[in-house]
Symmetry: C2
Subunit: 404 residues, 2 copies
């Protein structure tokens, strides 16, 4: 008899954003007149940049002509895209990464979720708390986390690294030694960043203990301050211990186009085994490449016009972040993030739980945010707001906050 | 210390198509003047249909306008696409499948590779021999197959179901009872089909033994004969034992656009556990949807103009298949398939091994095909040709065969 993967039964409740969607739908159905503003899920709202649209049209025309039609993409992604990524995102920043260390994919979420497959199921993971749920849930599904302790809201075999106001939402090095360390900076959900000297300590720690760092840099384009690394490969020795994930979703508004990439240095190994061939094999066996037209769109993001246009979009969102940050501070809320990241991390008022505040904010202000507790127990009493709304909605949401 | 997933080490050699690519590249470099014709990998060559191109342009414009921009797609895919699939591919054929039983994805290869994740790693799989490598390799990676016996070219814990000239390349019901049964009809690589009464026996077998059938119907659009089922759900009781995979790759030339879907009936369960919520959870956790523009392109395939245009493309390819089939028969080769499928299954002459014939064909005729042995030991002494070339190349390839 076929048996299901019983690890799925360990997953507590629904996936966070599905639950939020359900609550919002139910509220809207009960209050059809309510003008709900969504600053919850991290989805962008600005249209794709004109240069990228122009490129998409031209790539679509190529697909309609026998002489330029493209079928299956190369396993790792098109050379034209991998080359420009290696140059602009890495070598221009002094990181020695080559085109064939870039694996193009349909997004960082998929890659972050799938990367654990190339590691032993006995490996122990460390994650920040709070944390983007995909890192933990994908490991639960693979059977790497042990049982769930509902009272503690923790899996028994996961090392949780608290991110608190006290440590500036940057975790301390763990006392137990993990095999795999998930880090995400600029951070989702807290919007915190890590300074280069601080990240170097993690690289040194991983090398000392033969751990692998899985570094999610999906929000690097939002970094505005000096001394904040855009890539983990800015740290000495990172090529010997780190895999990096990048995304076009937030950088260029590709949430609905789907494009990202993973960097695995050719010589990165653990226990004498290189990781590059494993991920290449996984890519070749279970994946069939991002669409040609989307890879062309990705290339256009690196053109002079494309860069200028996506920079303006990011500036727009970061203008929203400043409006939220300043507005909520002025209204007496305790807030952080929002300077190098599109996320604002809000301490709930009057010791409300995160979900209590979610319901309160939805019903009293018709504003949707993301309960911090959905990202882990240390997210309890926190709340995530995103800068991805329209300017008008963002201003309006802040006004509504002031009336609470 | 981080440890790799040692199951990857069990995988024999490279992924078949990577190896072919390497050999062809090396030959071309050594013989730059050779005009190589590729009838190997199953990639289409005809451009995307005009109606689909027109729809892509209009969807691209939507992405460039704030009022119509689309971010993250719904987890299961857009309703507009799932509805038309449920209607045209299922209900119009008398199959009671609803829109919310359709999971849109970036292709059948990914879904066929990922589906095993929702099942226990102790489950035993049955596959045809020869077989599309993804089914086995994805299970090897998950640790479901046991060790590889290089002499037998078999994994110790897999049930292999021989497909031979004697059984018309349709396997007999296995004597051992599998938990998961992979079937693919019209078949890749043999081009064979299964009649409805025959497929009903598999459904009955699966229901009797509580097995789940994983039915790959990626080539259903090529069926030309009566009494050949387009969907496993044409069989009584299939909704209680089968998952079906479909693809736009071969149906509408989307190999470079990436679109497919998986059907999991809402009530399909095993051991009292429903499979639909598991796949929904996997989709929500590790996947982020096919691009909006590609889903719109998929919808256009079902429009009257779209259907007419993709039918013409399929007729074109099946014209190629007939040229290969008739030409090779006339030249004294033993061939099958090619009537309800874009694949022609060729017995190698003079008892050559498949790879011997590959090298022989590449060097003597500059034609690339796929060695049957790459699909399993019962593919040895066979060779796969595809109908996806241009007419000109197909005719030329057949002429070259005649000179061998």
């Amino acid at each position: 008899m076929a048996k299901i993967n019983a690890n799925y039964k360990k997953l507590p409740g629904s996936y966070l954003f599905s639950m939020i969607g359900k609550k919002v739908r139910e509220y809207q159905e009960a209050h059809p007149e309510a003008k709900i503003i969504r600053l919850g899920i991290g989805d962008v709202t600005q249209p794709i940049a004109p240069k990228v649209i122009e490129t998409l049209h031209s790539a679509v025309d190529e697909m309609g002509d026998a002489s330029t039609f493209k079928g299956y993409a190369p396993d790792l992604g098109y050379e034209f895209l991998r080359s420009v990524i290696a140059e602009k995102d890495y070598r221009d920043r002094g990181c020695d990464i080559s085109a064939d260390e870039i694996f193009v994919s349909d997004g960082a979420k998929c890659d972050c979720g799938n990367i654990q497959e190339i590691f032993d199921t006995g490996n122990r993971i460390a994650v920040c708390d709070p944390v983007y749920p995909v890192y933990v849930d994908s490991n639960v599904m693979a059977g790497r986390t042990g049982a769930y302790d509902a009272a503690a809201e923790r899996f028994e075999n996961v090392i949780y690294m608290p991110c608190t106001a006290e440590n500036g939402f940057v975790p301390d090095l763990p006392e137990e030694i993990p095999d795999l360390i998930y880090l995400c900076f600029p951070n989702n959900p807290t919007g915190a960043v890590i300074k280069k000297a601080e990240l170097q300590k993690w690289v040194d720690f991983a090398r000392k203990h033969d751990s692998i760092i899985l570094y999610d840099a999906a929000y690097e384009a939002y970094i505005s301050e000096e001394d904040v690394p855009h890539s983990i490969y800015e740290c000495d020795g990172a090529k010997e211990c780190a895999i990096e994930f990048r995304s076009f979703s937030k950088t260029a508004g590709f949430t609905g186009l789907r494009l990202g990439f993973t960097v695995i240095p050719k010589d990165l190994e653990t226990g004498g085994e290189r990781l590059w061939p494993l991920w290449a094999r996984r890519h070749g066996t279970k994946y069939n490449g991002a669409p040609y037209i989307v890879q062309k769109a990705g290339e256009a993001v690196y053109s002079p016009e494309g860069r200028q246009q996506v920079r303006e979009q990011i500036a727009y969102y970061m203008g929203n972040a400043k409006i939220i940050l300043d507005g909520l501070k002025g209204a007496g809320f305790e807030v952080s993030g929002g300077v190098n990241a599109p996320y604002i991390w809000l301490k709930t008022p009057r010791n409300m739980t995160s979900w209590e505040f979610f319901d309160y904010l939805l019903s009293e202000a018709n504003v949707v945010g993301t309960p911090g507790s959905g990202f882990g127990p240390h997210g309890e009493h926190y709340f995530r707001l995103t800068a991805f709304g329209s300017r008008e909605n963002t201003v309006e949401a802040v006004e509504r906050f002031k009336t609470l």
